[in-house]
């Protein structure tokens, strides 16, 4: 069995699966249950200053469901912990003492004044916690008070607060980033400049989950009104993966440890975040949907996959996909693929045909010799992959690369063996041309 032990910026945990700072980590009772279930670590729900915040007493969550009520996306308008600071600190201390092998990081959010940070850091240090995570991400409620994502959206503030934290504390510092910005590299760069040991991302995304058409109010609705909340769960994973990758491959932040967050539901999701550079992952929605037991298969599945691939420790594959994250302009334009439909697997639903016919390249038949039959017309197929995506049968339609030297029936040109991209393409007005004689 592969070794899942993780050392993330000096914080050790038996596996890379941490619970994110959120309701599941708000108190000792839950955290102990999580550790008993096998979670490698937790980021304790964000502490603030007393008096504690208050939450709404109506719905705090909204959801997007699949037809069988599968929870695809969740949002929340819950604030940071609403329990007294002293209670949280006492429990953190106790839990760390009882579970020394697990990672226990404490999330923090206080106003942007140096003294406020000095005060709380001192108290957290006394608990023996392994590190702090700066919550610069929460997009609702706290941001209206100049905290959370209001800080995360201003790189200068991120750098400033991070610097205070590093200056006044010996603890490892993770900066949690908000996705509610245009370029996630900027806040990551600021965190690094401030001395952050790592970044974690993504926090939740500004969202309205739906509109109650009877009362004409956004959901979740509190007494007829709604406010945007933070979106998370499986639906946000693609956005999170991209942001993690952007930071991992940016020369100025490359190598900065990342704790990946955003819709991690299975071991495979976790492996994908890690392949894009995350040294640990944080989970919330999967646990809030199914309970803490989901970690068992995360551990087992990741370990099994690592065994199959011959990885003996997680650091052997963390970041391995990063070199392959490229810019469009460097993609190989000489690579030519055609869709191929396996007629034995085809159930003749015709979705590939209508998708291609109505919205793409008219490259799939619906009739051949008077019979219902779906075949790719290579002369028209641009290899776009839409048919693969809409086909309900796995592996029925595949994209097959053309062999160099053969003729592409669409363009009537020879498929070139050599790599060539947009930067040198003749249609590109900015193309890098060879130096004039």
């Amino acid at each position: 069995m592969a070794d899942l032990r993780t050392d993330f910026i000096g914080i050790k945990s038996p596996n890379p699966f941490w619970l994110a700072s959120a309701p599941p980590t708000d108190k000792e009772y839950n955290v102990v249950r999580a550790f008993k279930a096998g979670w490698g670590g937790v980021v304790w729900k964000t502490l603030g200053e007393d008096p504690a915040v208050v939450n709404v007493n109506g719905p705090r969550y909204g959801a997007i469901h699949g037809k069988d009520r599968q929870l695809i996306g969740l949002n929340n308008i819950e604030l940071i912990t609403d329990r007294p600071l002293e209670v949280n600190l006492r429990e953190i201390k106790q839990v760390k003492r009882d579970w020394p092998d697990r990672a226990l990081v404490v999330s923090l959010m206080v106003p942007c004044e140096e003294q406020n940070w000095i005060n709380i850091l001192k108290q957290v240090e006394d608990t023996g916690a392994d590190g702090v995570e700066l919550n610069f991400g929460c997009p609702h409620g706290m941001s209206e008070r100049g905290m959370g994502s209001a800080v995360g959206q201003v790189p200068e503030y991120i750098e400033m607060v991070t610097r205070w934290v590093k200056q006044h504390s010996r603890m490892p510092c993770i900066v949690k980033l908000t996705p509610n910005i245009t370029d996630v590299r900027k806040p990551a760069q600021a965190a690094k400049a401030g001395g952050a040991d790592a970044v974690s991302l993504i926090n939740t995304i500004n969202s309205i989950m739906g509109v109650d058409l009877d009362v004409m109010s956004p959901a979740p609705t509190v007494d007829g009104k709604g406010a945007h909340g933070g979106y998370c769960g499986p639906a946000v994973k693609p956005i999170a993966l991209n942001m993690v990758a952007e930071i991992a491959r940016d020369p100025s932040t490359h190598g900065l440890p990342i704790s990946g967050i955003g819709g991690v539901t299975t071991w495979r999701d976790a492996a994908e975040f890690m392949a894009l550079g995350a040294g640990s992952v944080q989970v919330c929605t999967a646990a809030m949907t199914y309970g803490f037991k989901v970690v068992e298969d995360m551990i087992d599945g990741l370990s099994d996959w690592m065994d199959q691939k011959g990885y003996t420790s997680v650091d052997q594959f963390v970041g391995n996909a990063v070199p392959n994250v490229s810019d469009w302009q460097y993609l190989n334009l000489n690579y030519i693929a055609k869709a191929k439909i396996d007629q034995d697997l085809c159930i003749q639903c015709g979705r590939c045909h209508i998708a291609c016919e109505d919205t793409s390249h008219q490259a799939i038949t619906n009739m051949v010799n008077g019979e219902r039959r779906f075949e790719v017309i290579d002369e028209e197929c641009v290899g776009c992959n839409l048919c693969v995506n809409v086909c309900p049968v796995e592996d029925c339609i595949t994209m097959e690369a053309m062999t160099p030297g053969s003729i592409d029936p669409r363009t009537k040109k020879t498929v070139e063996k050599d790599y060539a991209n947009w930067t040198t393409h003749p249609n590109n007005p900015m193309a890098v041309t060879e130096a004039a004689e």
Binding site: D68, Q348, C349, G350, R351, R372
Partner: protein
């Protein structure tokens, strides 16, 4: 032959009172909203969908299922009614396993089709619960009068479509109640809660249709007179006659006609008052045979056997219906044909069957016989058109009325549809389609 009792054992009330309601409850209860959503989500929204091609009324099935999926069951029902105004009954009685669901790509892929019939019922039941009338609006009055004979599926479909076009329809039926086989023939567990009558009311609500019951062609209605007093006539008269077994002893008591027994059963106010034999033998292999066998079993008959003269694969009853019979406890005996109904004192005590064989396509009796004790023997070997009712004026083939693609008969002002026409499939849904096509053709003729 074992004689367990001196006379035939035919009595009512074989079961405890509360068991009847349970036995004759809905075969497929209405899907709950969540079940319908999940089932609708299984539909792939196929292009040029095979299910739609297989539907005799060409209902846009992917569309109506998508409308259920999007939370628009009213729109879904409109999509259904647009093609099939008896979509509610068809959802209950269509042999979907040999029509839409047989060709569903998910049947092809995984042997589990989308439950199209049950989804159709979900939508149509929703609509009929929420609305008093059909989604159609009656067109401006044309002043034309059409006589529709037979208020079964074909006649109802035709009358409704004609009314939509603004014609005045007189809808005649021989029985005291409209509905035809929907009311008198369908197995009762497929149409509970008086659905057939409610559907008739729903259809008639379009207006412009005058229902006249107790009017039988050949008795108090003459085709020639109808032709004289109406602009057009549609015949949806079904098959009024029943084939006999043609064997000795058929006149004995206990020798029964499945169709009329089912009609009695359907109209019975109290099933515990309906006499049924302890031992029942059904002769036939179609839907009616299964319907009578299953229902007598559910009425408390101890021992019910369907005897069919060929192999099970040749039975007209679908595989699903055969399984329904067998899981209800009905025995299916194949390769056996009736030879004589035996008994004493004018009542049957059993049936003598001859083993049959099919050798190189040649069907014959083997001479070997077997006698089954029986208190009731039902004949379910097909129905016939009562030709005398038609006054000899129509072209017939194999005892049924010949029609063209537009369901026009050999008489220019007479159309026909449903079981009475030649080449039909004897299904509710094809009858509905016949009525619809005929109505469009009649409308075209009257508008010309």
């Amino acid at each position: 032959m074992t004689q367990t009792k001196a006379g035939p054992d035919i009595v009512a009330g074989r079961l405890p009172e509360d068991v009847y309601a349970e036995n004759f409850s809905d075969l497929h209860p209405l899907l709950e909203s969540h079940e319908a959503q999940v089932e609708a989500d299984r539909c792939y929204f196929c292009y040029d969908a095979p299910c739609m091609q297989a539907c005799p009324t060409s209902i846009d099935i992917p569309q109506f299922i998508r409308q259920i999926s999007t939370g628009n069951p009213t729109g879904s029902a409109k999509t259904i009614f647009d093609q099939n105004i008896l979509g509610g009954m068809c959802a209950r009685v269509c042999p979907t396993e040999t029509l839409c669901e047989q060709v569903c790509v998910r049947e092809v892929a995984e042997g589990k089709p989308v439950k199209i019939g049950q989804l159709q019922r979900y939508a149509t039941d929703h609509y009929m619960a929420e609305n008093d009338t059909t989604p159609f609006t009656r067109g401006a009055a044309t002043g034309k009068k059409v006589a529709v004979i037979g208020a079964g599926p074909a006649g109802l479909s035709c009358a409704h479509r004609l009314a939509v076009h603004g014609h005045d329809v007189s809808l005649f039926d021989a029985r005291e109640k409209a509905g035809g086989l929907n009311e008198f023939g369908i197995a009762s567990y497929k149409s509970v809660d008086n659905f057939a009558a409610r559907e008739v009311e729903f259809i008639l609500s379009i207006g412009g249709i005058e229902l006249k019951t107790g009017m039988r062609l050949g008795e108090n209605l003459e085709l020639s007179e109808l032709r004289a007093s109406y602009d057009a006539v549609f015949l949806g008269i079904g098959l009024g006659g029943v084939n006999s077994l043609g064997v000795e002893g058929e006149d004995k008591s206990g020798s029964m006609d499945a169709v009329s027994y089912i009609a009695d059963l359907r109209q019975a106010k109290d099933l515990s008052k309906l006499p049924v034999g302890r031992r029942v033998v059904v002769i036939g292999g179609g839907m009616t045979a299964v319907d009578i066998a299953v229902q007598t079993k559910l009425l408390g008959a101890e021992d019910v056997t369907i005897a069919y003269r060929r192999g099970q694969d040749r039975m007209n009853a679908s595989e699903y219906e055969q399984h329904l019979a067998q899981t209800t406890g009905v025995k299916i005996m194949t390769w056996a044909q009736p030879k004589a109904l035996v008994g004493a004192n004018g009542a049957i005590a059993g049936i003598e069957l001859e083993r049959t064989q099919d050798q190189d396509g040649s069907f014959s009796g083997t001479g070997e016989t077997i006698t089954l004790p029986a208190d009731m023997v039902f004949k379910a070997v097909g129905q016939t058109l009562v030709q005398t009712d038609l006054g000899g004026s129509l072209t017939l083939e194999k005892g049924r009325i010949v029609v063209g693609d537009d369901r026009q008969t050999s008489l220019a002002d007479v159309w026909a549809g449903g079981d009475c026409i030649f080449g039909g499939e004897d299904l509710t849904v094809t009858a509905v389609e016949d009525g619809k096509i005929a109505a469009e053709s009649i409308n075209a003729a009257l508008s010309a």
